[in-house]
């Protein structure tokens, strides 16, 4: 079934009886060419592009819970390509370009909204740094505009411009950035992959790998052994847990990140705004809720819930930059487990075990990467060579000193 305006009208006139399930619920086969572990955004996108762009067949996505129940359904939905470093910027710009055509490509309404992202500047040093970043973005074919304080005020007059400690001195805007309906990304890729023959197997936890003479032959699961030529992990926050079953220790810590949403309000915020002096960012969902977040809690955690001090810190930052937020009531907060890598950048690479591949280390910023991550991972799986925008995302970069450390924080995951 294809979605179209015609189909919507037809269903409206015939009592909406013609909508069916969007994907099948198949039993696992004994063997696949490719098994992708993790039915989050990245796993599902990988399966989709493996078939669509790389012509591969006989693929399964194995998910321990339900698809979209992980970080892809928990994030604050911001997409952007405002990175500085060579290893990153071409990849994230590739991703943003894929977002721009995604809904037509997979025929699903993911509510991709390029409402723009604005990073506020509060000091001269920050203006220098953001100018440099903007130039790096433009050099890589992305868009960036530097705004002075008056231009920022004209766009978002409700901010606290004259704060004694952190006055707003300008902003770096990326107009093509924005937000996307996160669940719909998982569903759209799932539906697109399923329509092309990919088996999406839910409620099936991977509990181990069958490795013989340095070659991965398949996976052990809660529903028995499944054989495969190539096994590809894409389990985000669970990466260390899963890969330890293959005897690997990763350059990674798992941390909890919280997010918040207020009651629904009339439209008040035009795009995404980030505070440059504390860690706080906010946008408004199409339902009207203000969606915001800040720092990770800062200690290793697999709890999928955070603690109150971070709630207080995020709300304080919100009040500092946007005092009117204090008039709204908080509806919900939740947490997700981040695969925080040692340099804040991801890994898309083969492992030292033949037939076993890895995708992870997305930290708190992997949602925007979903299309490019899927594409580049599919490229690696199909061709055994890295995609040109993902060449730097190697396992061995830590060993050889080629870190991609956007923040310059060193090997301390909770500071990235």
């Amino acid at each position: 079934m294809r979605f179209s305006g015609f189909k919507v009208i037809k269903e409206a006139l015939t009592g909406h009886k013609g909508w069916g399930p969007q994907w099948r619920n198949p039993e696992p086969k004994p063997h696949y060419d490719f098994i992708i572990i993790g039915g989050g955004g990245h796993g599902l996108a990988t399966a989709y592009y493996l078939v669509k762009e790389f012509g591969q067949k006989n693929i399964a996505v194995i998910e321990k819970g339900w698809i979209g129940g992980g970080n892809v359904g928990r994030n604050t939905t911001i997409i952007r390509s405002n990175y500085l470093l060579d290893g990153n910027e071409p990849f994230y710009e590739f991703s943003l370009k894929l977002w721009e055509g995604l809904e037509q490509d997979f025929n699903y309404n993911a509510m991709v909204s390029q409402r723009g992202i604005l990073n506020l500047i509060h000091s001269d040093a920050q203006r220098d740094a953001f100018t440099r970043r903007g130039n790096a973005m433009i050099l890589n074919g992305a868009d960036a505009v530097l705004l002075n304080a008056e231009e920022v005020r004209a766009e978002v007059p409700f901010l606290n411009f004259d704060d004694a400690r952190f006055p707003i001195k300008g902003g770096l805007a990326q107009r093509r950035g924005g937000t996307v309906r996160h669940d719909a990304v998982a569903w759209g890729y799932a539906r697109g992959a399923d329509q092309r023959g990919v088996d999406i197997i839910q409620n099936c936890e991977v509990t181990g790998f069958r490795i013989e003479n340095g070659v991965c032959k398949g996976i052990e699961t809660s529903r028995g052994f499944i054989g495969a030529n190539k096994v590809a992990s894409a389990v985000a926050g669970s990466s260390s847990r899963l890969m330890s079953k293959a005897g690997m220790r990763l350059p990674m810590e798992s941390h909890v990140l919280q997010a918040f949403v207020t009651e629904g309000l009339k439209p008040v915020i035009p795009g995404v705004i980030t505070f440059g002096a504390g860690h706080f960012y906010v946008s408004q969902s199409d339902k009207g809720g203000l969606v915001f977040g800040g720092d990770i809690d800062g200690y290793n955690s697999y709890a999928q819930r955070g603690n109150l001090p971070t709630v207080e810190d995020v709300c304080e930052s919100g009040m500092a930059i946007m005092p009117m937020i204090g008039r709204s009531r908080l509806l919900r907060s939740w947490g997700g487990i981040m695969d925080m890598s040692m340099d804040g950048s991801p890994i898309i690479d083969k492992t030292h075990i033949d037939g076993l591949y890895f995708n992870g280390g997305w930290c708190y910023g992997g949602f925007k990467a979903t299309p490019a991550s899927g594409w580049c991972y599919a490229h690696l799986l199909a061709t055994d060579t890295p995609h040109k925008t993902a060449k730097a995302y190697r396992f061995d970069r830590f060993e050889h000193g080629y870190m991609i450390d956007e923040k310059g924080m060193g090997a301390q995951p909770n500071l990235h």
Binding site: R249, N300, S301, Y302, Q412, N414
Partner: protein, 95 residues
């Protein structure tokens, strides 16, 4: 989270900063033949377990001592708190 400081008693975790896995106490010997390899392991690779985790917390807004806290990463429950200097001494280090 409340960290039961061995000297100061129960303190709010907010008074501390977090460093990470307590294996960071065991800095490799820089003169070993495979020192580069050992330092790569020490600096970058982590067990990152779901469950019990021994980790370093620094009492920055308190007595500035380093603690080894044993905490469950799934429940956030803290089961043991030691002075890092005691742990290091028990392992035969001078300080």
């Amino acid at each position: 989270m409340i960290i039961n400081h061995p000297i100061l008693g129960p303190r709010d975790a907010q008074e501390f900063t977090y460093l990470g896995d307590a294996s960071l106490l065991n800095r490799p010997d820089w003169q070993a033949n495979d020192a580069a390899d050992q330092f790569y392991n020490y600096q970058y690779l982590r067990d990152n377990p779901a469950g019990e985790h021994r980790e370093l917390w620094f009492h920055e807004q308190g007595d500035r001592s380093w603690l080894v806290v044993t905490r469950n990463t799934v429940t956030h429950e803290i089961s043991k708190v030691e002075l890092a200097s005691d742990v290091a001494r028990k392992e035969g280090r001078s300080k």
